[in-house]
């Protein structure tokens, strides 16, 4: 019933599984394994209980819906004969289910067996579900010296007994199906003999692998041999991955079922057009080259839901209805979506180019969506934050409404979709709480997760992501307005539907623009893991997959080692040469090591299987020339003795990358280019993650000997390069100038050759790269890539410069570590830093930059800075009580709730604020205020906060290498003396103040209300009028540009702008322009036309 039950089932729905069948959920063995990074478990799903009773499904009951949906069906399958036609398809997802074993494919054994399901799409666009029978889970254990062949039945008996004990309720007739002796070699440590016996243990079901592993590792009492512990090998490989490795299937590749070797399933279990049965021996996997490099025309559904939240609350499925669901379906490779449809609750006016389907009840909306998914049959479901919000919301909402038939959106008939909480933690990506919704046969691809993984951005809201990548602002309708629109008329609901459709389209556009489909499928193909792993798991599974594949070819088996020695001990990391801070006005050549760490591993043959254990060093009696000692003191066998598999993997990755890059140059077709570029990027990332894998102390197969050797070589090389450059390029060797290394990072060295032109620096750079490369073991190579000129070196990992690769013009301005995009910086900082760098580097005008800073600071103090530049934004992740320390944005959210609960930010929102002037001694968190409130009430901002907490650090960082006394000059000069503070219109004192008109020219109070100017200023009318009118002019201009931009964003001229996106840089400006203009006009009015 529930599609996949994992270790802890947290759903709150009615228990659908009889208690007696829950055994698998707890059948992990007595002691739970320690929490690991990316601990993966196989979880068996039983066929008979995965399905509802096979009653035919009810239509959602809305008349005519079926007909409207049916036009989007897939093309019907052209008739074929299983005896004469081959079936070729691209697989997208592989999972398994437990069912009765097929008689002809297994070893004649009865009882439940794992059946793998491969979901995919043929070239013609037909969906395929292929059941693969006969593949059995297995793992290896070391065969102890004194265990003879006769002892194997005893071991089997003992293991079987222990397993039965642990799983009393299992109806499986046997657990351990087979134990055989195989000749293999452990991947760990260098050994001279080529193979030795291991025991291969085959079990009935995938989950039993973990159980057996636990028993064997902790020790088992074998009749006649006593208590024995075993080291297990490859016992932590997910079953689907095991199958893929053994059948040489990589993620997203093409599979062929030859004619006569498969048959059509008699009793169809899925909604796929083709449902086939075959044995794992018949599956042909094509490597992704030539005609099999293409992508099948799979269907991608992008969707977005809208909920009618209550005022002041973030929508909760227990209470708030789903009112609209927008869907876009695109066929891979096509430019335009084939389906654009929106399902709405209550009538909605039609939308051009979109199918609007309106329903009277929420139940009908949800069921219609289910039907739509079933008819459209998407292979991939994308969206923004769908995994954490949209999908769980829909499913939980259906539970609340007691629509039992709703979550049947997977590809398996009658199989319900369930939600469970997961937390994903990885060293690279950090810990992330999320929900997992398993939709069988459909791959989920949440663009939010992808963005968080692949890009470092200051904000991940859909608005700022689309602003960043698509260059346009997204209209943002505040959730308090959504309910109003829903409660309006068909027109207002249409307005909402248009917005909802746009939100559904953006993920698809991001997917296209950033070529995620190509890149991710390439990544899956290169690393050999299913596409779904790429998002749900970290880096190490990818490396592990490659190691397992390579080991299988070389007859190695991978031990199940867990964290070495607690994992806390670190090792010395990369070297960073001392930065000689300063502003360099001579060209700086940068010498880079191309893929330094992979190259080191290849050059010195660093691998698990070449590492010589210290105690083995003498025992094995290896000649000194056969091994290499690394700078960190480890010993590795040289290639002549044993070629490492990591170097082999890396070689393949890098040479494939080289090929892809060469092909990329040749390629003309944009699609082909996209695929190749995706591939070369995937290859690069994979190559770099191999080193990290060996160093991940809580990883799958850590080996600090390797990683510390790599970094020690790296350090040595940087030092070596530095010395060589300085020894070679100097006056005594006949060069005109003395070369100086100004800075060196992990894999690059920056050299000032002393020459003045970029061209000369490039020439010397190339020469240096060549000379120094010659001194390294291949394939380590130093490359000359770029020249920085001018170059501003601030400190370690912080620098900026103009980046030259050609001699005629610079390519771009390159900055590292200069925080222009940090989240908690206001826009003013970013603009100021960018402008200064531009002035210093491009215009070479340091004085101008200083003046610019002074003007900006003066503007800030004189209250002339646009408020939108001062807004700081922070995400509200939990309510005020949950924060240990009082934070500015949390306090503000609390205050805003007291003012108006409807529009106050709630958990999950981003809270924008500015820092205002407050009573002396007020805490920083008390000084935050809502920018709109500040605008409306003329509240003075606190310029000193901005000066000291926001501007000073980044500014001093830039100017200290350039300017003497930078702090004094910039932050305390004469420009800081004039200060202007506006009077708040809502403060207590203003209630007692009497307003009196003053002369526009000199601010002298004037008693006669009909006068504009005082007696002294009479005669200056023309001049003063000009000033007033110019102010109005500028505001009018701004007003027009801002409001028409918002019209363009919302895509309608005839409707009012509703957007309240606080992420949008012009939101506050728009508001401010409106207000300022009204005020300026009052001034103008005094001139009495």
């Amino acid at each position: 019933m529930e599609s996949k039950r994992r270790k802890s089932s947290t759903n709150s729905g009615p228990p659908l599984i009889p208690p007696s069948k829950r055994f698998q959920a707890n059948g992990e063995g007595p002691a739970p394994p320690e929490p690991m990074e990316e601990e993966d478990f196989d979880v068996d799903v039983f066929l008979e209980e995965a399905l509802l009773r096979d009653e035919e499904l009810m239509e959602s009951g809305v008349e005519g819906l079926a007909a409207r949906l049916s036009k989007w069906k897939r093309k019907t399958v052209t008739s074929f004969d299983s005896r004469s036609s081959n079936i070729v398809f691209q697989q997208l997802d592989i999972d398994y289910i437990v069912g009765e074993s097929e008689k002809d494919s297994t070893s004649g054994r009865a009882g439940p067996a794992a059946i793998l399901r491969i979901f995919g799409v043929t070239e013609e666009g037909n969906s395929v579900c292929c059941h693969v029978h006969g593949f059995e889970p297995y793992f290896y254990i070391s065969c102890l010296e004194d265990v003879g062949p006769d002892d194997i039945p005893k071991l089997r008996q003992a293991l079987e007994g222990r397993m039965r004990e642990a799983n009393r309720n299992s109806k499986s007739p046997s657990f351990v199906t087979k134990i055989e002796v195989v000749q293999k070699r452990s991947l760990m440590y260098f050994q001279l003999q080529k193979s030795r016996p291991f025991l291969k243990i085959t079990v009935a079901l995938p989950t039993m692998v973990a159980g057996c592993r636990g028993i064997l590792e902790r020790g088992i009492n074998i009749d006649g041999l006593g208590q024995k512990c075993f080291l297990t090998y490859e016992s932590n490989v997910l079953f689907a991955l095991r199958f893929m490795i053994d059948c040489e299937i990589v993620g997203g590749n093409w599979i062929e079922l030859p004619a006569g070797k498969y048959r059509e399933t008699t009793r169809k279990m899925s909604y796929c057009q083709l449902e086939l049965d075959t044995s794992y021996k018949n599956v042909i996997s094509h490597s992704s080259t030539g005609q099999y490099s293409k992508l099948a025309p799979f269907r991608i559904l992008s969707f977005d839901i809208e909920c009618a939240g209550r005022k002041g609350h973030f929508p909760e499925p227990e209470q708030d209805p789903v009112i609209q669901i927008a869907n876009l379906v695109t066929v891979q490779g096509e430019q335009r979506p084939m389906v654009r449809s929106v399902l709405t609750l209550k009538a909605c006016s039609p939308i051009v180019g979109a199918d609007v389907m309106s329903f009277d009840t929420e139940k009908e909306v949800l069921l219609a969506w289910r039907d739509l998914i079933r008819e459209v049959d998407p292979d991939i479901i994308i969206g923004y934050n769908i995994c954490k919000f949209d999908l769980p919301y829909l499913i939980e909402r259906a539970q609340v409404l007691k629509i039992g038939d709703f979550p049947l959106i997977g590809r398996i008939r009658n199989s319900r979709v369930r939600v469970r909480d997961t937390s994903f933690s990885s060293r690279q990506y950090g810990t992330r709480e999320s929900k997992e919704v398993t939709i069988e046969g459909r791959v989920q691809f949440d663009l939010l997760q992808v963005m968080q993984r692949d890009y470092k951005l200051s904000s991940y809201s859909l608005n700022s992501v689309s602003a960043h990548f698509l260059g346009e602002q997204k209209e943002d309708v505040h959730h308090s307005i959504i309910s109003d629109l829903q409660n309006g008329n068909p027109e207002t609901r249409r307005r909402l539907a248009v917005y909802c459709l746009k939100d559904a389209y953006l993920p698809q556009r991001l997917l296209d623009k950033l070529m995620f489909m190509y890149n991710y499928i390439e990544m899956a193909r290169v690393t050999g893991v299913p596409i779904s792993f790429l998002l749900s798991r970290g880096q190490s599974i990818k490396v592990l997959s490659q190691i397992l594949r390579k080991s299988r070819q070389r007859n190695f088996i991978v031990p199940n080692l867990k964290s070495q020695g607690g994992g806390q001990e670190g090792f010395e990391g990369a070297t960073v040469l001392e930065a000689k801070a300063g502003f360099y006005e001579k060209p700086i050549a940068t010498l880079d090591f191309a893929s330094l760490y992979p190259s080191i591993m290849m050059a010195y043959n660093l691998c698990y299987c070449t590492l010589v254990k210290a105690e083995d060093l003498n025992k094995l009696n290896l000649a000194p020339e056969m091994v290499s000692r690394t700078p960190s003191g480890e010993t590795f066998a040289k290639v002549t003795l044993e070629k490492g598999i990591l170097p082999e993997i890396l070689e393949e990755l890098l040479s494939a990358r080289k090929r892809a890059k060469a092909d990329l140059k040749e390629a003309k077709d944009p699609f082909e280019k996209a695929v190749l570029d995706g591939r070369q990027l995937a290859l690069k990332i994979s190559a770099n993650s191999v080193y990290g894998f060996t160093g991940a102390t809580v990883g799958q197969l850590p080996c600090l000997e390797i990683s510390s050797s790599v970094t020690s070589y790296g350090r040595q090389m940087i030092e070596h390069t530095k010395n060589l450059v300085e020894q070679h390029f100097n006056l005594s060797k006949g060069y005109e100038h003395q070369a100086e290394v100004v800075y060196g990072d992990t894999d690059s060295v920056m050299v000032q050759f002393g020459v003045h032109s970029v061209e000369e620096a490039m020439k010397l750079g190339r020469e240096a790269a060549e000379i120094i490369s010659g001194t390294f073991t291949k394939p380590i190579k130093l490359e000359f890539e770029k020249v920085y000129f001018p170059f501003l070196l601030i400190s370690k990992k912080r620098y900026a410069g103009l980046y030259w690769t050609k001699t005629n013009t610079y390519d771009k301005m390159d900055t590292k570590g200069i925080e222009t995009v940090r989240r908690d910086n206001c826009l003013l900082v970013k603009n100021l830093v960018n402008e200064c760098l531009h002035k210093i580097l491009v215009e070479r005008d340091v004085a101008g930059a200083v003046q610019y800073v002074k003007n900006t600071i003066s503007d800030l103090l004189m209250n002339r800075v646009d408020l939108s530049l001062l807004v700081i934004t922070k995400g509200l992740t939990k309510t005020g009580d949950d924060y240990a320390v009082k934070a500015a944005h949390v306090e503000l959210a609390e205050r805003m709730r007291k003012r108006d609960a409807a529009t106050a930010p709630t958990v999950g929102d981003r809270v924008p604020y500015v820092i205002i002037k407050a009573a002396k001694g007020a805490k920083a968190y008390e000084k935050s205020e809502d920018p709109i409130f500040v605008l409306e009430n003329n509240i003075p901002i606190d310029p000193h906060y901005y000066l000291e907490n926001q501007l000073s650090k980044p500014l001093l960082r830039i100017f200290e290498p350039i300017l003497k006394n930078a702090s004094k000059e910039l932050l305390h000069g004469s420009h800081t003396r004039a200060v202007s503070i506006s009077t708040p219109s809502n403060s207590g004192i203003m209630k007692f103040a009497k307003k009196q008109l003053s002369c526009i020219g000199c601010k002298t109070p004037i008693s006669d209300e009909s006068q504009t100017l005082c007696g002294h200023c009479n005669g200056r009318e023309a001049e003063l009028y000009q000033k007033t009118v110019v102010n109005v002019r500028e505001l009018e201009q701004l007003f027009g540009r801002l409001w028409t931009q918002c019209q363009r964003c919302q895509g309608s001229l005839h409707q009012d702008v509703l957007c309240t996106s606080r992420d949008c840089p012009i939101f506050y400006r728009r508001k401010k322009a409106q207000k300022d203009l009204a005020e300026a006009e009052v001034q103008l009015d005094r001139w009495q036309f």
């Binding site: 009028y1025 500028e1034 001229l1053 009204a1078």
Partner: protein, 443 residues
């Protein structure tokens, strides 16, 4: 001061007179103020107005096709839709560009024209919008904000295949008073004095003033001058000293600089007003508001000229009647904007288009600053002028165009005086026009 005595030129020629009726009320904002209005109302009023105009024309042109809204379109069925055009332009500058991360991406040199071959048109009405496709639609010809009726059918992709476009065409015209005007009278047009620019030539302006006031030349010239019944200054009389008006406090010396050009202009205007009637319109660089319709220049700027009843400050656009001849014109912003956002042969083409679209400034408010009217669209041309002029153009040109109802309109581009030293004279009786050029150098 009574000016009647001054109506004789120095040479004794009496200056001819013409009956002047100002018609600027529709462009006056009065006490309307910015109170949070949005531009959607303006588009709505415009669409509504044109729907009235176009509906009858559609019946004539495509009698068999039904008129429907974009919502009511059906796949493959021929029909006519009336809606506002929106031109999607890749190169259109946006205020959001200021925020783009990559500084180098912001084009440093602003191109003169933002059209590109990728541009496409969208038709929008209150119910929705639809992309226009087909060979019958030329995006470069149109701009955002024009209201048209389009005949065609909706295709599969939700696009509209255009078969024909119906523009409102010239509005009805009052008959030209050929029979009542018996002798030649001229109206002089000038624009772009740009007083206050460092390199402006005061002598050239003075020559114009002397010519108009009859202080120049022989009797023949003076008699010609006496036939000029009115001078229209179509904008950009001064160059605003923007650098001095940034809000920073300025020294008294610079204050004087600020006021000097205005003083100089006042002096010139006083001389002319003493001799003949003048209308002065605000232009893009005058000390007036920025958005269209620009309000009359404040009289406090001209303490001298204001004294004369012959001195009138008008709005931009400016509309008036002289001896029954209808005049309508702008200081050039509307036409300059069309030049940026569409393509055409010359400035007169753009002027003709605005007449055929019956709209003075279709790009307002999209790319042309404009007051957010809520109850009307003052830029709709409801009756066809006899003379349609446009100030601050690069060069002088004129053309007579004919409308379907026999309307005859004289289009005049008034060159910038600052660049060309030229003014334009239009004969009220014949609607012929010619250039009046001044030069301070000897040939």
């Amino acid at each position: 001061m009574e000016v009647d005595t001054l109506r004789c030129l120095d040479g004794g020629f009496p200056r001819k007179q013409a009956t002047y009726t100002p018609q600027d009320e529709k462009y006056e904002l009065r006490r309307q103020r910015y109170k949070g209005q949005q531009y959607s109302h303006l588009y709505y009023c415009r669409l509504h107005k044109f729907r009235e105009i176009l509906t009858s024309a559609v019946k004539e042109r495509w009698p068999r096709f039904p008129v429907c809204t974009i919502l009511a379109l059906e796949d493959g069925k021929d029909c006519v839709v009336i809606g506002t055009l929106y031109k999607q332009m890749r190169l259109k500058p946006s205020i959001l560009d200021e925020y783009s991360k990559e500084r180098s991406h912001v084009a440093l040199a602003k191109p003169e024209n933002f059209t590109c071959p990728d541009d496409y048109l969208i038709l929008e009405d209150e119910s929705g919008r639809i992309k226009l496709v087909g060979d019958n639609v030329v995006p470069s010809h149109y701009v955002t904000g024009v209201v048209v009726a389009i005949c065609g059918q909706e295709g599969k992709d939700g696009e509209f295949n255009v078969q024909g476009i119906l523009e409102p065409n010239l509005p009805p015209q009052h008959p030209h008073p050929n029979n009542t005007v018996l002798d030649d009278k001229y109206v002089a047009f000038v624009s772009g004095f740009k007083i206050g620019r460092n390199d402006s030539n005061p002598l050239q302006v003075q020559l114009l003033v002397d010519h108009l006031t009859g202080h120049l030349g022989e009797e023949q010239e003076q008699s010609l001058s006496a036939q000029i019944v009115r001078l229209i200054i179509a904008g950009d009389s001064v160059e605003l000293q923007n650098n001095l008006l940034t809000g920073q406090s300025v020294s008294s010396k610079e204050q004087a600089k600020l006021i000097e050009p205005i003083k100089e202009l006042d002096l010139i205007l006083t001389q002319i007003a003493a001799s003949m009637p003048i209308d002065i319109m605000p232009g893009p660089n005058d000390p007036s508001n920025f958005s269209l319709p620009q309000q009359p220049l404040h009289k406090c700027l001209f303490p001298g000229a204001t004294v004369y009843s012959t001195f009138l400050t008008g709005t931009n656009p400016h509309q008036f009647e002289l001896d029954g001849v209808q005049f309508l014109g702008t200081s050039g912003q509307n036409i300059d904007d069309l030049d940026k956002y569409s393509e055409g042969g010359d400035r007169l083409d753009f002027m003709e288009r605005t007449l055929r679209w019956r709209h003075l400034a279709p790009t307002a408010p999209d790319t042309l600053g404009c007051y957010p009217f809520t109850d009307r669209d003052p830029f709709v041309i409801e009756s066809c002028p006899h003379v349609y002029f446009c100030g601050n153009q690069p060069s002088y040109s004129s053309r007579m165009i004919k409308g379907p109802g026999g309307q005859m309109v004289l289009l005049v581009c008034i060159p910038r005086f600052y660049d060309t030293g030229s003014a334009v004279l239009v004969n009220l009786r014949t609607l012929q026009c010619h250039l009046l050029a001044f030069s301070t150098t000897f040939c």
